[in-house]
């Protein structure tokens, strides 16, 4: 389980970094999205992986150790929403840049 998830994170980061280093804005936006998946998973995994743990509190007196760590989950939850917002911002910037420079190269001009 852990190994699979770690591999998944690795592949997401690898693909994301590759795209981040590409010259086209669209590649970069996809790359950033992939990296943000990986980062969210990574933060989430800091609470360790629990399968079949109850997500909400049961009746009083139940064993606290049976629950997953809620803190990374709370962090990731807002990160997902903020991630959407930054994607939108980046998308608008890249559209505006394309409108102004007539190219989708990240530098605003094609390389000579």
């Amino acid at each position: 389980m852990e190994l699979v998830l770690a591999l998944g994170i690795g592949v997401l980061v690898g693909s994301g970094v590759w795209l981040l280093l590409r010259p086209r804005t669209y590649q970069v936006i996809i790359g950033l999205s992939l990296i943000s998946y990986a980062v969210n998973l990574f933060i989430f995994s800091m609470g360790r992986l629990r399968v079949d743990a109850p997500p909400v509190l049961g009746p009083a007196g139940s064993d606290l150790a049976s629950y997953g760590d809620p803190v990374p989950q709370a962090l990731v939850l807002t990160a997902i929403v903020i991630g959407f917002a930054t994607t939108a911002l980046f998308l608008v910037v890249l559209l505006a840049s394309r409108g102004l420079t007539d190219t989708d190269h990240v530098d605003g001009q094609e390389r000579q």
Binding site: M1, V17, L41, V106
Partner: protein, 971 residues
Amino acid sequence: MTDDTLLISMVVLPFVGAIIAAFLPTMARNAESWLAGTVALAALGCAFLAYPAIAAGGALRAEIPWLASFGLTLAFRMDGFAWLFAMLVSGIGFLVVLYARYYMSPEDPVPRFFSFFLAFMGSMLGIVLSGNLIQLVIFWEMTSIFSFLLIGYWYHNASAREGARISLTVTATGGMALLGGVLLLGHIVGSYDLDEVLSSGNLIRNHPLYLPALILILLGAFTKSAQFPFHFWLPNAMAAPTPVSAYLHSATLVKAGVFLMARLWPVMAGTPEWFWLVGVAGLSSLLIAAYFAIFQQDLKGLLAYSTISHLGLITTLLSLSSPLGAVAAIFHMVNHATFKASLFMAAGIIDHETGTRDMRRLSGLFRFMPITATLAMVASAAMAGVPLLNGFLSKEMFFAEAIETHVPSILDTVTPYVAVIASLFSVTYSVRFIQAVFFGPPPVDLPRTPHEPPFWMRLPVSLLVLSCLVVGAIPGRTIEPFLRLGVTSVLGEATPEFSLAVWHGLNVPLVMSVIALVGGALLSFALKRYLATSRDGPPFFRRVKGQRIFDRLMALVANDGPRFLERYLSTRRLQPQLRLLVAAAILAAFLPLWRQGPGLGGLTFPPVFDPIFTLVWVVGTVCAVIAAYQAKFHRLAALALLGGAGLSVCISFVWLSAPDLALTQLLVEIVTTVLILLGLRWLPKRVEGAMPVPLSLTTRLQRLRDLILAVLAGLGMMLLSYAVMMRPAGQTIGAYFLERAYTEGGGTNVVNVILVDFRGFDTLGEITVLAIVALTVFALLRRFRPAPDSIPPPMQQQIQRKFDVAAPDRDDGATLTDYLYVASVIMQWLFPIVIVLALYLFLRGHDLPGGGFAAGIAMTSAFIMQYMAVGTRWLEDRLRVLPLVWMGFGLLLATATGLGSWLFGYPFLTSHSRYLEIPLIGEVPAATALLFDLGVFSLVLGATVLMLIAIAHQSIRRIGPARAANEAEET
């Protein structure tokens, strides 16, 4: 009124006034003046009320604890010295308000002026009354900012902008140094409390950090008080409206520097370092500025240099480290404030009534404005140090101190000579000021015909001049008790015996005064002809301008330097920058592992191996890799594959017992996909095979390098996360939240309780960020137009349009509207259902997976579906979509919920939960956190809808005819 309210209201009132002033209508010149005048008078009244307690020998204190454990409290403290300054700041402030009412023209936007003016007054009172050094620095910086705004008040004027910019750069840099100095001082003493600092003089002077602290604090004081070599900002600041100059350069801004030096005088003075640093700056300012002042052709320029010179006099007096010197310094601060304020106002009147300040054009004004002329003459006589006026008294004290030996050195030897020469110069420029403006033949072709100003405009000048006269003639009965109060509070037991008298007998200082008066008068007559036509600025030094050096320096720091660095150490291209960033990140993570070993050794092989989970991730990783491969030429495919990877993430969250995350991820996945789809149409068309087929070697090498970086980054993250996951979790704060989520937060969904209750303040910050981003997206799209569509409409749509146009009973675009008709009807019908789903997610959020974030995005998808089903125009004709209102409501509600807990005496964002009995439904949990969550919901809904429809609206925007023509020409 208690001491606390007295002190606090003195500082707070001007700021409250400033806020009110900002919102009055533009033309309300009278209302603004009444407001500002009342506020200044109220501050003055507070100072009066405080007098009995101060005179009894005590210092008033008011404290509001803030971060007491860090020694940070909001502390106000008023002793005799602070009282003296508070009187000056509020008293002269009131007179300047009165003056400004008549000076400002009806066209000037007065709310801005009075608002900044009051805020500046509040900051200045804040400096004077601060009982804590850090707090003092904060008010200090605020005076820098408000003086910047005041100097640049006429911002349509290039010299005003320039002057404001220079003064801010210089004084704010000084403020930065001062902060450093104060931190050092606090470190030495162990407290930032002014009383404690003032009682640890020996500790400070003998500490190894004394010199650095001294230099930094003096840098702050010198820049503020325009001491050489930082004096050049002050003449440039003369572009400000004259009331501003009269206030800033007499009683307030520039006095802050000498105020601070006098305040810290008991604990920092008395060392050779102090003597040399302060003495050299003071003496050189005194002499050089007096010399420069003679050769100014602008009235205000003359006064500006004279201000620098008089501040130099005060600084020199402080440098001597003798108690009598300090007495004279404090006395001169008061005297200079009165005569300089009146002179600036007189210069303003002259400018106002004649239309020029150039002394070469002005002449013989006495016959037009005899009263103003008389007032100005008395004030400049005080500036020159003529007997029976206040300037004479403090100058005599200065001479008496200058001839004493304090620290045997060459500086001490030259002081009396410099003092006499500088005073001689000061007589010269004072005589010139009067002689050039008021005497001589009548002026020719002035912009306006000169006449006396209105009575109320002259009144402040008259009052100030009267005080110069009264203090100068009978000092013992007027100023002496107050001065004694101020001096005693600074010097304490070291207060020397002093008496203020006009006649001290025939002594050396008197002889020096006579030399200065006679010599100065002679010099002014000798220079009269030269100055009548000369260019602005002193001979020989005209070319050496502090400002020019400053400009060079600024160009180097702000332009040439960075350009040099960019050229040789950096690049404008994004890819190399990102490459460096990624490489640095890999290295930063790798280095600690290299030194300590990766720590994978003792780990057991994972015991659980789930084939289905593995399959999910095989799909996920394949999607990610293909998305990376296809993102260049097949954008839609890449987007779909991105969604595939996202689904794997989502399934993982479900699998790993985090249903809240899975829910949010799934919903965000939907809106992200819609968002990027909306953007796709404006990206340029890219066809595979446009690149030369055998790629050049460099391109291949670059790609190989990027591939290696990507693989390294991926491997690194994999190892890192694996290593962490295989370790047993230590004691985390998660247990704390699990224990208290129900008992204290009243909810069983711990994640949601953390978000809306335990860490509610974080969430408030996060939704604020969300709002800011949404507004930025909105604002960017309002200004920018995306590129025109890169490809013509698809063939299918073109055929449909042709069909529509040809058919007599169909409108253009009707077929397209009917496209997917069944699906769109179903989507419309889904609207209420999705809304119910969103409400359900919202309401159950506190106890079951859901909550404001997830519900907000679910609601967004309801709206997006409607947009897709029926089109933007149709929908917005029928449904009011107000994302900005929703966002504002959400933010306000969340904040108000937080503030609500204050009403019950709890800290910000404390929540309360209980069970309510509702008929028919039964017992339902109700927590104030639910209201907060409603704010989150509303804001998330507003922000996401705003971003999506802002982009969607670009599609129905038409390119303006001008731009269309432009583009047609280009193609």
